[in-house]
């Protein structure tokens, strides 16, 4: 982690003063300037923060209480929130998002863990090549890899269907069939984010002391035992972190479904909360409803994150 390199710095002339003693003894105005200093340091960040984070958070809440389909906008507290309850398309998008969360996230994290263990193993040769293969997708732009997967999964001419045909499997309309569309998005996301999570998990693995394993080996523990009794429990905090991050990211997923399946695909097969929000906000120009959807996403993310933490903390010894 971030380091301050103490080596090579001359020991300063210190009087051994403690950190709390104010050190500008040359006068009141200096002291005041020193006291104001932290505010000056904070100012630029918090200025941008106030305008582009705090205000929008408030404004979104306000927008969700207005009817933005009339000209000029009208206050109408329930119109958007009530629509959420009966909007079938919103429920479908919600269902898709939850499906992705329930399937893609666990699969990806499992793969990432296995990958991290493999990369950490002293038995592995050609490590740099493997690291590159799995980590490179992390730096690929969303737009770029969405385009690539759109080509690969094309129903008529894509590489995936070619491979399926060669293996004797029936070809699938990946980008047109409602059931297949979501799978395509999930495969793409797994490709992209497994490496990212593996990087984090690998760091976690590397911080587990070796002698724990050695002691266990002496006691006759099998690799299986070592994995489930030592590795996983110690990896848990990091796994939870990855889980929460993935869950929050999935709740607002936009770019992949939008670009891979052409705006959520025919029939909304890959419609997620993110794409639905975009359509309501920036295609139908219904800002109020989009804001209501946004807050629903926020609420969901908060609840799911909290649930994750509670669930996993409870099991800890």
């Amino acid at each position: 982690m971030g380091t301050a390199t103490r080596a090579g710095i001359q020991a300063p002339r210190t009087r051994g003063a403690s950190a709390a003693v104010p050190l500008d003894i040359r006068g009141g105005w200096r002291r005041r300037r020193h006291a104001l200093a932290p505010y000056w340091f904070l100012l630029p960040y918090f200025l941008v923060f106030a305008v582009f984070w705090c205000w929008p958070i408030i404004d979104s809440a306000l927008l969700s209480l207005q009817n933005t389909r009339v000209n000029p906008w009208d206050w109408n507290i329930a119109i958007n929130w009530r629509r959420l309850l009966i909007d079938r398309a919103f429920h479908a998008a919600l269902g898709n998002t939850l499906t992705i969360m329930a399937i893609q996230v666990p699969v990806m994290l499992t793969l990432a863990t296995l990958l991290a263990v493999a990369l950490n193993s002293p038995l592995l040769k050609l490590r740099p090549i493997y690291r590159f293969a799995f980590f490179a997708p992390v730096v690929v732009s969303d737009a770029a890899y969405s385009a690539v997967f759109r080509v690969l999964f094309n129903g008529q001419f894509g590489a995936v269907n070619h491979a399926f045909a060669a293996l004797g499997l029936p070809t699938v309309e990946w980008l047109q069939d409602p059931n297949a569309m979501l799978s395509t998005v999930m495969v793409a996301m797994t490709w992209r984010w497994t490496g990212y999570n593996a990087i984090i998990l690998l760091a976690g693995l590397q911080s587990i002391p070796r002698d724990l394993y050695e002691a266990a080996a002496i006691d006759g523990a099998t690799p299986f035992d070592r994995f489930f009794r030592i590795t996983l429990p110690l990896l848990k905090p990091i796994l939870v972190f990855c889980l929460v991050l993935s869950v929050i990211g999935t709740t607002q997923l936009f770019t992949e479904p939008w670009l891979i399946t052409d705006r959520g695909g025919p029939g909304g097969g890959a419609e997620t909360l993110g794409t639905y929000l975009y359509k309501q906000g920036f295609v139908s120009m219904n800002f109020g409803y989009a804001a209501a959807i946004a807050y629903t996403i926020a609420g969901m993310a908060a609840v799911l994150a909290a649930l994750n933490l509670v669930f996993t903390r409870g099991k800890q010894a």
């Binding site: 079938r88 008529q156 047109q176 029939g267």
Partner: protein, 435 residues
Amino acid sequence: MSGFGRIAGILIGTVALGLAAAGPALAQSDVKGEITVWSWNVAATALKSVVPDFNKAYPNVKVTVEDLGNQPVYDRGLAGCSAGGVNMPDVYSVENHESSVFWARFPDCFLDLKSVDAKEADLLAKFPKFKLTELTVGDKIYAMPWDSGPAVVFYRRDMYEAAGVDPAKIVTWDDFIAAGKAVQAKAGPDVKFVSNNTDSISTTWFRILANQAGCAYFDETGENVTVNQPGCVQALETVKKISDADLFLSAGWDGSLQAIKANRLASSVYGAWYEGSVRGNAPELSGKWGVFQLPAFAAGGNRAANIGGSSLAIPASSKNPQAALAFINFALGRPDSQITQLKASGLVPTLPEAINDPYIQQPQPYWGGQKVWEVVLATLSQIKPARGTQYFAEADGIADGILLAYMKGNGKSAKETLDEAAEQISAATGLPVAE
């Protein structure tokens, strides 16, 4: 609206009015400036083909036609208007059924054409009334009608012939299905009979057949939801029959053209403007294609429907509304220009004078010497008008999911499916479902 944008808009509008009221129209060489035109695909090609003639009459106007793609033009128009009228071109292409959202939601975003030049009303009066309905709000006319999209069946002569199918004998949709099975049986598993034209949305087929049956998402007043009326139910059932007969190639715009080029598609049901796309995309197939009118639901029934059709509007933020209007009038208001566009891209003119041009009567070599424009224009008078309303995009999106589930086979009947769609559209728009 941004303060500056508003002031600029008012200034321009005032100047334009002043000019219009000041006396005789400006001489053509006095009209000058640079104008940007947004359009898509073959429509953009058509406009580009008019520019040289335009510049002979108006030498001091520089015209740049940008092909941005159909959806992006719509999206960016909405975004620009919602941002107060920024980043808009001088001439904006808009599809008629999608245009109402602009006039209703952003009434200040586009100019009333009559306000740019008082004589405009005379020219606009030449167009058929039903084309102007969707472009008019109260006293203001926001755009000039351009082309319309009468739907026909484009077909491969050789593939039909090989299967022993005579297109003249295809009178009903049941005939169409039978022909499809015959053609597919003969041509083998690589060839599909017709494309379902599904890009990001799957409702194109439904909308064509519904219009044929005189039904649409909303009624003519635009105040009731009518998607579950008997005409629409019949349309949906027919599309399902075609799908169940396994005649559809599941492909969008791009995929369908690729399939045509690869000899894997035997027909396509689309607006007549598709003519230019087929011809431009696969010139090597010249002589092998033809057209025939839509099959009817029952013998003797309506064989006409409309899909698409656009207009040109002038955003209020344009710095050269005079030049923009001059271009629009030239491109759309003259029979010669409309025929030029017909030749370039297959855009069907709506100006009545253009319909009488001798070119319409000419045999077209690409289409096996058939007088395709005669066939197409013969259907114009039977097309039933349909209103898009400002909720069109949302209704279409809602219908898309529900209809697709039905097409995949979810055990519901067409009537139940459309009842559900009507209910959802009603909930989303606040409009009541018609009895």
